[in-house]
Structure formats: C-alpha cells, structure tokens
C-alpha cells in the first residue's frame, strides 16, 4: 500500500469515526416515529438549511459538475445554475405548505385531500424509484472514487462498506443522526471547496482576469451533425473548435439546444419533487423555520455552485481534459495538482463524506415512504403502533441498503451525473405537478393525480430508456465502460425527457381533473387551503 493510499484511508477513517460518533449520540435520542423520521421536529432553521445543503450537494454536484465543466466547459455550469434557481420553486410553492399540511413524507401532502390509499401507494412507489436511482448514482460514485484512490480496495468492497455504513446510520440514528452527518458534511464540503478555489486562484496571482484568460485559451472540439471525433478528424459533419467559455460544447445542434431547455426545465422543477429534500422540511418546528431553512440552504448552495467555476475550469486549465481519465475525478485530480497528495486525500475524504450524507438522507426517505405510507396507511389502514412502525422503517432501511448495494455493483459503469439527471427528470414529471396542484387547485381530483403521477413516471422512464444516453450505435472499438446499453439508433432525440414528460404530466393532471368529479377533494380543499396558509393544527 502506497503512502497516498494510507493518507486517503486515514482521512476516510476520520470521517467514518466522526459520523459513527454522531450516530451513537443520536441513537439515545431516537425513540418515537417523530424522532426517527423527523428528528423530533427540533432542528433549527439554520441547522436545517445546512442539512438541506448537505443533502443536496451530492456526488453529482461536487464530482459530476466539476467533471462536466472540465470536459465541456461552460455547458457544465448550466447544471450549477439550474440546481440553485430550483430553490425558488421550493420556497415559493412548496416548503411552507408542505410543513403545514404533512407529517413525514411527500405522500402526506398528496393524500391529504385525496384521502385515497391508491394515491399513497403511487406516491410511495414514485418516492422509492426516484430515491433508488439517486442512491445508485451516489454509490457508483463512491465505488469509483475509492477504487481509483485506494486501488488495493476493490470497487465492490467500497460499495459494500458505503452501503453498510448508511444502513448503520439510519437504523441506529434515524433522522437526527442523518441531519448531523449532513451538517458536518456541508461544513467540510464548503471548507474544502473554498480552499480548493483559493488555491486555484492563487495560481493566477488572485487575478480573475488571468484566470479567465487561461480558460479562454482552453479549446474544446466537437463535430456537427452528430459525427464522432477521432484523432482530430470527424467521422461526419464538420469540426468545430471553440473556447471553453463559449456555450455549445455539449449542447449544440437543433436537439442539443432543445436538450438544454429540457434539462433546465427538469432542474428548475425537479428539486421540489425530490422526496429526500422535501422530507427535511418536517424536521423543523414551524413553517417559518421551514422558510428560513430554504434561505440558509440557498445561501450556502449558491456560494458552492458559484465556486464550481473554480473547480471545473480549474481542472480544465490546471489538469487538462487529456489527463482526466474518469470525468468524476476531475475535482480530486485538481486537488492533487494544486495541493499535493495530502490535500488530495482530504478532498477525497470530503467527497466520501458527501456521499455518505446523501445516501443516509435517501435511505431514510425511502424507508419512510414504505413504513409510513405503504405499511401504516395502506396495509394497516392507519392503525398506528409506534414501536412496530419504527421497526418496519428500520427493516426497510436495511432492505433498501442491500438492494442498492447489489444495483450499484451491477451498474458499475454507469455515469453518475446521468443517473442523477434521470432522478431529477422523474421527480419533476411524476411528483411536481401533483404536489403543486394539490396545494393550489380546488378542482384537482384523485383520478387527475393518479393518472398524472403514473404518466409522469412511466413517460419519463421510457423516454430515458429510448434516449441517446441509453441507445446509440457505438463505433467499433469502444470500451465496455463507455458503451451504450442498447446498440441501436435512439428513438427519442433528447437525453433529458423533461421537455416532454413534465408538460405532459401537467396536462394529464388538468384534463383528467376537469373531466372527473371528486366531491371529497373539492370539499377538503378548504381545509388544505386554511391549514397550508395558517399552519393551524400542523404536526408538532
């Protein structure tokens, strides 16, 4: 084992010890279902803001965006913008009503007016699907990170360790441990990113002008008309060379431009439909603290995403695309280039903490969807037994952990950023129309909601399966890791299904609601409206 590996393992060990300590502390404070799912609703606005930030800045943000910018220049930064602006949707439309109406899960809000077990079932299934996709992305990221930095540790073992740790956090520490793991991670990630950015800037004498001149000098190439670039020549189309600061290296041509809009739509709406983020708003005591947690989160996340400028473009200028074998490792490689191996070990450990915090948040969202929505409200028809519920939630957390370990091992070669993009698109299409309409539209019916959720879920998943991200004919000699899953011409031209699936889901919700009648839903809208606005009778 090399000293680089030892340093990395040591740093990882420190992170694991801190998080295990938090879990043990939290386990003594976790008894009831409210403790387990919502940390007793005693988290403050600032703490929850940090935890939301910790839950949100996943492997896709830290490793993924840096890699995308390092490979595609400006276009990678579009993710940073979309991920941040999305919090306006959360603040204006979702956070406060959700806290006022719901109890533990996304389905609480959806099934509030439409008191229907099928609504809960569909919402829980959607939660589980979005959560699992998101989780696999994180675990594949962890596996790649560990197996590349600590080659003596096998990819599969890395996945198993991450999986077991997350099961441990959730089962023993519940939401309280998860929250504090996220807070610690957010602080570490912000610190690491800040130091890395300063080191990059110091390379340019702390002159933004010099830095941008250097980025301007980096040239990216692509072929028009979908041709592939090989040895400086295009298989078809013409070769375009442009600066890394010029948009279009990734999104060019008619479909590329549409894909940019599609991605933007999925990102700006998707966050409001991510179950693990929504669930965080139940951990604070009131709607007012839910509001302040969004503001805190947005302040922190905004600074982070602005700093991705330095991570991504820094990797492009100081490391260079040619020296980055794995896109997801652009940020760690940059850390090594500007700070040496010890700093690399630190940044890798921060990335590892990032992944641990996010998978813990996802596990608890998934386990609550099963235990609270399906088990308690569908199977047991609302007859509550606190001890049994917590037990069921813990068992589910274990099962989710094991399933994601297997899926992450099976999907070894998947692209992390792509999987997270898929989760956002599915969340935006399946969940967001129903969440918004159930809070604001009196005429929304049970049939409208169920059909919209199913259409959103199925259409987004199918469109992704037949998109160029999955379907393409690779040129001969493509490595297995880079090959597309289905070797045929794509049936749908866009990589992101948002532009079609989101409007479709909204349209189905509205049309089906207008042609069906649902007296109970219309009647209970008054209660929804009053409670969403006043916070009266909100869960405490």
């Amino acid at each position: 084992m090399t000293s680089k590996e030892l340093q990395t393992l040591l740093m990882f060990g420190v992170i694991v010890l801190i998080t295990l300590g938090i879990t043990l502390w939290a386990s003594r404070r976790t008894r009831t279902t409210t403790d387990f799912y919502a940390a007793g609703r005693k988290i403050s606005g600032a703490q929850n803001g940090l935890a939301v930030a910790g839950d949100y800045m996943s492997a896709a943000s830290f490793l993924g965006i840096a890699g995308l910018i390092a490979f595609f220049g400006y276009d990678g930064f579009m993710y940073s913008v979309g991920f941040l602006v999305a919090y306006l949707t959360v603040l204006f439309l979702v956070a406060e009503p959700l806290r006022n109406i719901g109890k533990f899960t996304m389905a609480d809000v959806l099934s509030f007016r439409l008191r229907n077990r099928s609504v809960r079932t569909v919402a829980a299934i959607s939660t589980l699907i979005v959560t699992l996709i998101y989780m696999i992305a994180q675990m594949v990221g962890a596996g790649s990170l560990v197996s590349l930095l600590v080659p003596s540790l096998d990819y599969n073992w890395a996945i198993i360790i991450v999986g077991l740790l997350m099961i441990f956090y959730v089962i023993f520490g519940g939401m309280l441990a998860t929250t504090w793991v996220q807070i610690v991670k957010a602080v570490l990630l912000m610190g690491g990113t800040l130091i890395l950015s300063i080191l990059v800037l110091s390379h340019y004498g702390f002159s933004l002008g010099n830095f941008f001149d250097a980025i301007h000098g980096v040239v990216g190439k692509y072929c028009t008309g979908g041709g592939t670039l090989k040895d400086g020549a295009c298989s078809s189309g013409t070769l375009v060379s442009q600066s890394y600061l010029t948009p279009g290296l990734r999104y060019h041509g008619t479909y590329g431009q549409l894909d940019l809009i599609s991605l933007g739509l999925a990102l700006v709406l998707g966050t409001a439909g991510l179950p693990h983020i929504l669930m965080r708003f139940y951990t604070v005591p009131t709607a007012r603290t839910a509001r302040s947690s969004v503001v805190w989160a947005t302040a922190i996340i905004g600074v982070f995403y602005i700093l991705t400028t330095f991570l991504g473009f820094g990797a492009a200028t100081l490391v260079g695309k040619a020296h980055i074998a794995n896109q997801n490792l652009a940020a760690p490689l940059l850390a090594e280039a500007v700070g040496g191996t010890l700093f690399l070990a630190f940044i890798a450990a921060v990335a590892f903490a990032t992944i641990l915090a996010v998978v813990a948040g996802l596990t608890i969202a998934g386990s609550s969807a099963f235990a609270h929505d399906i088990w308690l409200n569908v199977v047991k028809r609302g007859r509550e037994d606190e001890r049994e519920q917590v037990l069921v939630a813990k068992i589910t957390a274990g099962i989710i952990g094991v399933i994601s370990i297997f899926l992450a091992i099976a999907l070894h070669y998947s692209n992390v950023a792509f999987l997270v993009g898929l989760a956002f698109a599915v969340a935006a299409s399946a969940n967001v129309p129903s969440i918004i309409l159930s809070i604001f539209w009196r005429r929304f019916t049970t049939a409208g909601m169920i059909s919209s959720m199913l259409v959103g879920l199925i259409s987004s998943v199918i469109l992704i399966m037949v998109s160029p991200a999955i379907m393409a004919v690779d040129p001969p000699g493509t490595a297995a890791a880079a090959a597309h899953l289905i070797q045929a011409k794509a049936l749908f031209p866009l990589e992101n299904p948002g532009l079609v699936a989101i409007p479709l889901s909204f349209a189905v919700a509205i049309v089906v609601s207008l042609v069906t009648r649902d007296e109970a839903a219309v009647e209970t809208f008054s209660e929804t409206n009053v409670r969403a606005n006043l916070g009266i009778d909100a869960e405490v």
């Binding site: 600061l245 918004i436 009196r442 008054s526 009053v530 009266i536």
Partner: protein, 130 residues
C-alpha cells in the same frame, strides 16, 4: 402554471358543513369553510398570491430567457463584457444574485403574512375552544 395557483374563490358553491373526519391527519373539527370565507383570511391569501405569482413568473422568465440566450443566441452569449468574461457567464452568475434577492424580498414581505396569520389563528382558536 400560474393560473392554477389561484384558488377559485367564490366561484363554486361549497356545501356549508364540516368535513366530519377525525384521523391522524385531521385532528380537530373546525369549520374550514367559514375560515376560508373570513375577510382577513381572504386578505392573507390575496397578498400572498400578489407576491408569489409575479415572483414565480419573473424568476421562470429570467431563467428561461437565460437558457434561450445561451442555447439560441450565440452572438449575444459570446459578446465580451470585461476582457474574456462574456455575457453567457455573467448572465449565469446573475441568476444566483437574482435568486438571493428574490428570496430576500420574499422573506421581508413574509413578515407581514406572519403577523396576519397570528391574528387569524388567535381569533380562530379563541372562537373555537377545543
């Protein structure tokens, strides 16, 4: 989706009776329809709507205009502002400040909602002893 955010006040005739349901979500029996008709409550919903709908339309427009400039208007996007810093990058950066400023305005205005909510809740609780 801005039009879907407006509750159809007064447009429907709502049966004037309680929804007599008590379960884990619906803890108390209240006359929700009466509260909904309350003039102060209507004022609350109206002032919130007057802030949220324009703010939502504004940020979505600002964001999608940005996407269109980046995707479809290369001449504008590539125009230089300072040296090599172009419109595309500054427009992206401005989205962050736009979000922070809009949030600031929302939080500042939400203080007014909170006071109104407190007044209504005190009245509802006072007139409806549990």
């Amino acid at each position: 989706m801005a039009d879907a955010t407006s509750p159809q006040d007064g447009g429907k005739s709502i049966p004037a009776r309680n929804t007599e349901v008590v379960d884990d979500q619906h803890t108390a029996l209240r006359d929700w329809q009466a509260i909904e008709r309350d003039s102060e409550f209507r004022e609350l919903v109206r002032t919130k709507r007057n802030l949220i709908i324009p703010a939502t339309i504004f940020f979505l427009l600002y964001y999608f205009v940005f996407l269109i400039v980046v995707g479809y208007m290369p001449d504008v996007a590539n125009a230089s502002v300072f040296g090599n810093i172009n419109v595309a990058y500054l427009f992206a950066l401005s989205q962050f400040f736009m979000a922070w400023i809009l949030m600031g305005i929302y939080v500042w205005r939400a203080g007014t909602f909170d006071r109104l909510v407190e007044r209504i809740v005190a009245r509802v609780r006072g007139g409806n002893k549990e």
